[in-house]
Symmetry: C3
Subunit: 193 residues, 3 copies
């Protein structure tokens, strides 16, 4: 009888655990992953943008390619740069030194989209092809550049970053006139395959 009781207790525990498991599985229809907000991968990079201003063709890594009716393509348009669209191919470094050996390229576009305050929207990729990282991470989202930090979405990845999702916390690490800025990019992936 003693054994019977033990078997009973064991069964009860098993059934309890099963119910827990089942309910968590069922919940996945609505809220797919409840879970701890811990990144499965984190990295910090800097990228450096030197905007073409008509005189710096040799060093420039980006250029204005679209502007509003009142703007041109060698200077920002005024009104918080509203309507300026920039394409870039910026070096990525591990530290905040423009002259460090690049570990990849940040390639994409951004545009300023507000008249009364500096704020941008970006779509770009980090492209890596080194012994350390191969593949790309794709980003998109609003970048309210005057906020100390702001988050944009990691919307996908390839190679080492196959199917990645997460976000990146951007911080303006340096800003010189309208020509140079450096963004600290803290990449946090929450889906790693």
């Amino acid at each position: 009888m003693e054994t019977m009781k033990r078997v009973g207790i064991a069964l009860s525990i098993i059934i309890f655990v099963l119910v827990l498991l089942l309910s968590s599985t069922a919940a996945q229809g609505g809220k797919i992953r409840g879970r701890r907000r811990l990144p499965c991968k984190q990295m910090v990079f800097y990228f450096h943008d030197i905007l073409y201003n008509g005189k710096n063709a040799k060093n420039a890594t980006s250029a204005i390619v679209g502007a509003p009716a009142w703007g041109n393509r060698t200077a920002m348009a005024g009104q918080s740069n509203f309507g300026d669209l920039i394409i870039f191919d910026d070096p990525i470094t591990m530290d905040n030194n423009l002259h460090s050996t690049p570990v990849g390229r940040a390639q994409g576009f951004y545009f300023y989209d507000r008249k009364d305050v500096y704020t941008a929207w970006m779509g770009f990729s980090f492209v890596f092809n080194s012994t350390q990282h191969k593949g790309s991470i794709n980003f998109a989202g609003a970048n309210p550049v005057l906020n100390k930090t702001r988050d944009i979405s990691v919307i996908g990845g390839t190679g080492d970053f196959f199917m990645a999702r997460g976000l990146a916390t951007l911080m303006t690490d340096a800003f010189e006139d309208d020509v140079y800025f450096r963004l600290r990019t803290h990449v946090k992936l929450y889906e790693c395959w």
Copy 2:
């Protein structure tokens, strides 16, 4: 013996449930989530776009910044606006009244990409910073504007909408010449963290 039988039945049930669970887990390699298509979060917003036409600088919330060779930046290009690229910062309201207090900003770009029919492609964010919502929702996809409703993808989110995925059903709620339109946006998230 009676007890033995009951233990046997209980075990059978447990094993059956385990097999079910295991098979559903195994299936996740191919089809990750089979599941009911029920949103874990739904919201309806309106956003209002007033396009700059050379005369309405004060009220305009968007501007043409790219156009084809035959176009300009104060009027649509003809041929279903093919090639016109617009950047916007539009107020978001809870109802369809342009003058309601905005609850956020819709910021991004759209362009018309077909010569024989009005159809657009959009990349934008809803940016919230109120007591109700803090954070952003990022969207991308085709917007065939003449369809009564059309879906675009929610590709990510930050803040309250951390890691969101889903879609948004767009409906043109009003359209006046080439200057004003209002989009009803039914956001449906299917991945909520």
Copy 3:
């Protein structure tokens, strides 16, 4: 006593399996899906881009709508086309014949973003409305066009491709001057709903 032993063994097995299940569930907080990298859906399409060059208005499916200060909108800008922004509405075919019946439209934009090497960045959708496929697949990412193959992200989908995620392997299948190219697109979805 024999029966007791058998119950004991059965319980041990069950507990072992439960522990396995639990640990796999627990692991989902960090690495959400460990899993085999097998697509749940695969498709191959071709799309055809004919760029407007000032003379081919009738056949052109795309047009330059943004260019750097030194460029124009009827010819590539030089320096690996850096800064040229193109909007397109290209026919999608099942084989590599431009004149095959289109099964959908590839609609979006690309721009060249590097001065010393041809490389592009793209955001676009495959839009289907046939008996075979209804809905859209949304793509974004870097496209280093000189690589034999390169991957971009599938960032979402609608209709038949509701909530899709995955990647697409691009291959330049034909290229004629700056006017025509054909991209073989191998779509591989790893998240199917």
